[in-house]
Amino acid sequence: MSSRDWPLWEVFVRPRRGLSHVHAGSLHAPDAEMALRNARDVYTRRQEGVSLWVVPSAEIVASDPGERDAFFDPAEDKVYRHPTFYDVPEGVQHL
């Protein structure tokens, strides 16, 4: 990050009550207080949200795309975790 820019922040918007915050984009701001206000002005101009989170981009810990196979492929053969794996006799309800 060049020191000439204000830090970069990631913005998460809750579209309406009952839903999770979803990543909307990023912006620059000198500090958290301003980041939150900027997020309001940049990402909720059309009533897109009822709640905002801002997180310094540098604070995000991300999984490494190089380790993707080790991270995510082992779940592939655990089909028994999904309800469609099981046969239900005809006529049985609420299962």
């Binding site: 206000r37 900027n38 002005d41 940049v42």
Partner: protein, 244 residues
Amino acid sequence: MTTPVTPAGFVLGLADDALVSAQRMGWWISRAPELEEDLALANIGLDQLGQARALLTYAGELEGTGRTEDDLAYLRDDRDFRNVWLVERPQTDFGVTIARLLVFATWQSELYAALASSADLTLAGVAGKAVKEVAYHVDHARLWTLRLGDGTEESHRRMQDALDAEWPYVEELFVADPDAPIDPATLRDAVLGRVGEVVAAATLTVPEVAPSVGGGRRGLHTEHLGHLLAGMQHLHRSHPGVTW
């Protein structure tokens, strides 16, 4: 019990304050210190313009002449405008813009909050919506006053200069109007108290200056308003009676 009639001139004053402010704020779009601030100032300008439109429409109804928001915005000369001097002078310096917004939005927030429970239900409706908008404007001005006042040496100096430049025009906001549903004179202590707290927290000083004579509410303006209106009105007036 009859509801007292709100004087059209009072509403027109508020409308013109908001309109002229919005016109000045529009200048910033594409000129702000950072992209994020372009969006913030545009939002503030849009809020002010929205307030102006609602208030102009209502002023037209109160005077009973059938004048629309556009008739009032575009077809009055500067002697018929009722805004205060604070909002009409150029604001091409960011510090000046923030200093002015701090004072103006705080004044609006006190006034709108009081008007929101006015017996004049139309005015109360407009004020009730606007009070939320200007709360955000006050907050924006507060955050920037703190950062400019307590930022660098240069920003401290420039923000103090900006306050000094705006302060002669503050007193006009509180000129007494006993016929108004809320007499602006009664807001003085609350407004200056709130503004003073922010100024002090920003390591700045409330200027001690003699107030300008003012006269905007009586249609006596600085030379700046004529130029602002010339730009704003020329196209509309060049094609009388058409639809845009």
